[in-house]
Symmetry: C2
Subunit: 223 residues, 2 copies
DNA sequence: ACCTGAACACCGTTCAAGT
DNA sequence: ACCTGAACACCGTTCAAGT
């Protein structure tokens, strides 16, 4: 055993898959998915890019692992009193997770090669609906519409060029200035009357749509 | 005027923005968004990559223009008898468009720099709801939930590793073989009882969710 | 007006070689 | 077992120069 290993006990000073994945997520959080390169990631880890290929097959596999890790950050609210509370909390958690890792928005739910965290999340959602008395067919419908909505919303949310309602108003005005008055009268009305005057909140919109969908699912309960 | 110009009247033999965009879409359709490079695109057009920079600012702008063009392919059913028929037909058309251009799925609705086709589409959707008597606030809710659902579904649909129900069954079995029996019991049940036995159809799932959302929107009509 | 050649600063990945 | 150096075949983009 080397002296180095004795100096840092319990902390491996050599690389491993997990460390690479965590560093890759950190790098992507900071500089986006296009800012993530094997060479930069190596630099960040104090190693040449080629070293990464000892721990991972290639960049695709790295990204798959990153996505499954992110998926594992979504809260699974086992203690929720009913399916509706469960799905509501899970949805909010998923939106939070994507807000922290915007680059991941378009990559989740790819359908190909789901990792353990992804599979566990699906399994738990299904369990929740089944135990609430939903049939298999209705469970599939419910899970599908919820996931489409949540990941769709997360993706649009991640791409929003604003976060506060003030910024929303500014951006709306900028868009409106780009086209001559009257070209898009209905859109123009929405922007002036709604986006700028009253406060537009992307999160409120998300919640409204989620409620609409949960109400719809409630009607499937005994079908 | 050159002889060449006389030989091909009405057909410019030099490049222009529109030709570049169309060729780029064709190339992306064939080889995905990662297969689209300025150098390959130049080759396809019989020109050096650098020539493209005379017609477009950079690759980002090219992609923005491609997306707006794709957006223009979505049918706007002016002759629909009511808002519901309008939204149903538009949704189906959007799904078809993304099926033809899977690489575009994750890039539509980016919110930044919407092009004329994108703005026109929004304007028409808003007009449809407003003329049906929806308030401004309810129109925003309805358009938001519909777009999130449609583009979310399009994205998942574009990424599906299967198209027919037979392929769906095969892929489901492959996924199931990857994990030890009983690890994900509820997911396992869905796969064996539903995905493999009865036929799973992604399009049917899309329609089910769309109906659920349209039913929900109908309840907002006089709010 | 429209295109090219050369150049720059990057990529992902392989593979033999080093310790 | 774990990492590196050199190499290959790519990228996007700028800019002076060509016609």
């Amino acid at each position: 055993m080397s002296i180095k290993a004795k100096i840092t006990p319990g902390h491996s000073n050599t690389l491993n898959k997990e460390l690479v994945i965590l560093a890759a997520i950190k790098l992507a959080d900071e500089s986006g998915i296009n800012g993530l390169s094997m060479r930069k990631l190596g630099r960040e880890l104090g190693v040449e890019a080629m070293a990464l290929y000892y721990h991972l097959k290639n960049k695709s596999q790295l990204i798959e692992e990153m996505i499954d890790h992110i998926h594992g950050e979504i809260e699974i609210p086992f203690d929720a009193p009913n399916w509706r509370a469960f799905m509501q909390r899970r949805a909010r958690s998923a939106l939070d997770v994507v807000a922290r890792h915007p680059w991941a928005a378009g990559l989740m739910e790819s359908g190909v090669n789901p990792g353990p965290a992804t599979l566990k999340d699906s399994d738990t959602m299904i369990q929740c609906f089944r135990e609430a008395g939903f049939s298999i067919a209705m469970t599939v419908h419910a899970v599908t519409v919820l996931n489409i909505y949540i990941y769709g919303a997360a993706q649009q949310y991640a791409k929003l060029p604003f976060t506060t309602t003030e910024q929303a108003a500014e951006v709306s005005e900028a868009i409106k200035r780009q086209f001559p008055m009257g070209t898009y009268p209905y859109l123009g009305e929405i922007i002036t009357q709604h986006m700028i005057k009253s406060g537009y909140s992307a999160v409120d919109e998300f919640d409204f749509g989620l409620k609409l969908i949960l109400d719809g699912i409630a009607l499937l309960e005994r079908e």
